[in-house]
Amino acid sequence: MKRKITPWRIILYLLLFLIVLLYNFPIFWMISTGFKFSTEIYRYPPSLLPDKFSFDNFKQAWLATPWWRYLINTIIVATVVPILRIILSALAGYALTFKFKGSKIIFLAILGTMMIPEETTLVSKYIIVSKLGWINTYLALVVPMVASAFSIFLFRQFFLTLPQELQDAADIDGCSNARYMMSIGIPLSKSVSITVGLLAFIDIWNSTLWPLIVINNDKLRLVQIALKAFSDDRGTTWNQLMAGCCFVTIPVLILFIILQKQFIESVASTGIKA
């Protein structure tokens, strides 16, 4: 079916364009406010664009609190967790493609953890982690986040789609399971790994309640918590606050623009979850 370009169609597209711009207005407003001087913030009516584009306010906000440290902290955790999660989930997912005694029960038990939302075990997990002496260490942020039933599920489903002949050939050649994973399994599962890694990255980058609870040492803070503290600290200097929001958002936004297709597909894949 080929559609003609009619004036009606052009109007529709313009309308759609307008809706999309309006929908993203908050993002625009964050950036625009970040460029404004303090005097301009208090002006009424507010100006849509700053009088003068200058990075002075960003500079001030950047120097007001050690953002670079919080960003580095977050990047470390948001790199370590995805890598570990990919490795552990790939292994578990592969192991679950074999039939052995209890394999079905184990698989169901793993899937069952998806019915226990993180929010409901916040308190007991905190007590466990504090008994382990992990409060104010990254162990508290990394270890509970590493295993993920959904990631294991994704890997298992992927390994099941590989032809059985591959495994048989490896068995005949005397290739061990570990070697099979290293030389066949992992290289083939690139797209699943990217999905699992990105989902883990988003999880960590956006996690708020858990790091707020287990980390109260300022040096170890993650960026979302630092931003919350920054806002509690200077609730009314909105231009500084919006600049802070920009610092927290820009790294993810860049990653999103580079990997937008994988990003959207990964997040959409959570739709098959239930």
Partner: protein, 301 residues
Amino acid sequence: MNGSRLKERKRFIFASLAPSGILLLVFSYFSLGYCIYVSFLKWNMLSAPKYLGLRNYAQLFTNPSFWNSLKVTLIYSLVSVPSCIILGILVGMILKNARIGRSFFRVMFFIPVIISMVVASLIWKWIFNPTQGILNYLLVNTGIFGAPDMNHWLKWYNDPNGGALAALLVVGIWKRIGYNGVIFLAGLFNIDQQYYEAAELEGASSFRRFWSITLPLLSPTTFLVLTMEIISALKVSVSPLVLTNGGPIESTNSLVLYIYKEAFESFRMGYASALAVIVFFFILILTVLQMRTTEKRVFYQ
């Protein structure tokens, strides 16, 4: 395969499953069990715990704060869930029909999804700001809602009778539209094109086609999104924490925020755990209901 190879495979399977298995066991099942156990205690984590039996639950059910936070969460869900679904279908339809620049529009609808909840809440807090926010400026100046009454509008977002909750709803819905839109888009692409071609031959109107083909055949996706939305609405916590801190007068104190405050501001671990157990059962019932219905298939041909 000979015996030693089989043994090796067994060892490999065990070693591969152990790390994830143990972690999930500890941080999901054991955590949950421990949560139930702590819910029978009076414990501030400083002094020794004291066994209370079911008294935390009794206290909970007689505490107006609990009923309030339950009410807040339910009202939030009642507005947020249908809005997210309807707007999600709308965005899905828009994306499907936008033949030019579909990926551009998809990205634009997706940007709020990747913005963190803390950032989203802060931006909207600024937009909603009673004295300098741009929204109040627009509302006051255009006088959409009757005569501009400065005093009234400047305070709407501090209004405990729904105003503050409305602010949370805006943030929550804004952030989820794009996500649902992408999922509905995938669902729309799964519908066989033949149905539409047949309908077109018979001269069915586009509304008719939407109503009699798209909606029924989209029902598996809709049902999936429905459950995800309900669960996500029941867990709403970061936006009230950042935007309103549960106030004014507890009018945005959602269930999970209530758990957080009881546990980590008042250090009533037992009471907070009892709350968490209740929330867990809510979500469990919903999940089981969903799985039951999915088995029966919403989808009919």
